[in-house]
Symmetry: C2
DNA sequence: TAGATTGTTAATCGATTAACAATC
DNA sequence: TAGATTGTTAATCGATTAACAATC
């Protein structure tokens, strides 16, 4: 299958979460306009995304929730498990760990790292916190392919380099500095301050 | 001045952070291509963004860093202070608080809220954690205009409603559920799981 | 000056939406 | 059937990039 647009991937991930919630509520079908309303987008958008992944509802009675989850999962989830590590085990690292462990079958958080000896050696939700000194060793050994960076700004670029050297192929950068990565390494950055500033701007300049 | 595109606002916020870092390094000028490289975008992009805000460098020796910071700040920062609250004082709420307090002169984090009596009454970085029961009272009293949601999923929509009822005009939603807000309230959502899934997808389907 | 850089228009690209035929 | 919904093409919108004149 063709590589899908970034935005579509994002939305598919979000649809799935919503669909899983719907299942809990014993719903079996959902209309495109319902999904759209929940996500504050148009129904056409939803239908187009679903068209992209090649699913068509046999009836015009909305999409079969279970089926749609399956199809989305087939697209989004990796065939084989991907191992993930969190670098920096402060509040943010802990929040991500708690939030993420066990949520997605094929994305396994298998290690966290920190420089502070008070944190290393501890275990949260079954994940051990290793010393940053052992980064290369553990990343290689556990074949970790994705690193989530939550270290202080001054350490960000250096840690990114270390991760890449150790074989990581994707980095999610939550530090407040911009980092760079070579071709072949997928880099995604998110900064909270930017989001807050953006909200503040549009609160004042209403959209 | 006209309302700028969302993407431009985001980038301006990021440029400023980079520029502030540059100041620390005693740099006085920066070329568009330097800024571009740091942010993994093109120099044209940078120049266009800067064109948008109407700044022009008098010399062709790069942008004056101090000046550019001033101009960006004039666009992004609110004239008067805006008060902000964090709802949900778990790891994520704490991370945001620690990260954010005192960073931007006109964005003041003035309260955090939690339901857990163990957390309420405590104070972090000078910010008091109030009981969620007092949400309306405090939001009104302190004229809080932006709420950052880091509560558990099941409480998200309800909290959003309570915030809006109390007069909040912008919400930054970090919960894993999609919430809705009426016109006049600017809503921005970010979900970490989606980002991780996206990175995993593109690690496998290399862009 | 020649070379480098900026500012800006026009062209391109990608993503969203409008329109509508097909289907239940 | 009539009404509602979906799937899909074409049109639109917005954001990025190419091209290049202007400037130092």
């Amino acid at each position: 299958m063709k590589v899908l647009p970034e935005k579509t991937i994002e939305r598919l991930s979000e649809y799935r979460r919503t669909l899983l919630n719907c299942l809990d509520e014993e719903k079996t079908h959902i209309y495109s306009h319902e999904l759209a309303e929940i996500h504050n987008i148009t129904a056409v958008q939803v239908r187009r995304d679903i068209m992209f992944i090649g699913y068509t509802s046999p009836q015009r009675k909305g999409y079969d929730i279970r089926e749609l989850i399956k199809v989305i999962s087939k697209i989004i989830d990796a065939r084989e498990a991907i191992n993930v590590a969190v670098i920096g085990f402060g509040h943010l690292g802990k929040a991500i760990t708690a939030y993420f462990v066990g949520k997605r079958p094929n994305l396994n958080l298998v290690a966290t790292f920190d420089i502070d000896p008070k944190r290393t050696g501890t275990s949260t939700a079954g994940v051990t916190c290793y010393s940053i000194d052992r980064l290369r060793e553990i990343i290689t050994e556990k074949e970790i392919k994705i690193g989530i960076l939550t270290v202080p700004p001054h350490a960000a670029q250096e840690m990114a380099k270390a991760l890449i050297r150790a074989g990581v192929k994707g980095i999610l950068n939550f530090t407040s500095v911009s980092i760079s990565a070579p071709d072949g390494v997928y880099l995604e950055s998110y900064d909270m301050i930017t989001s807050i500033e953006k909200v503040a701007y549009f609160v004042k300049h209403k959209k």
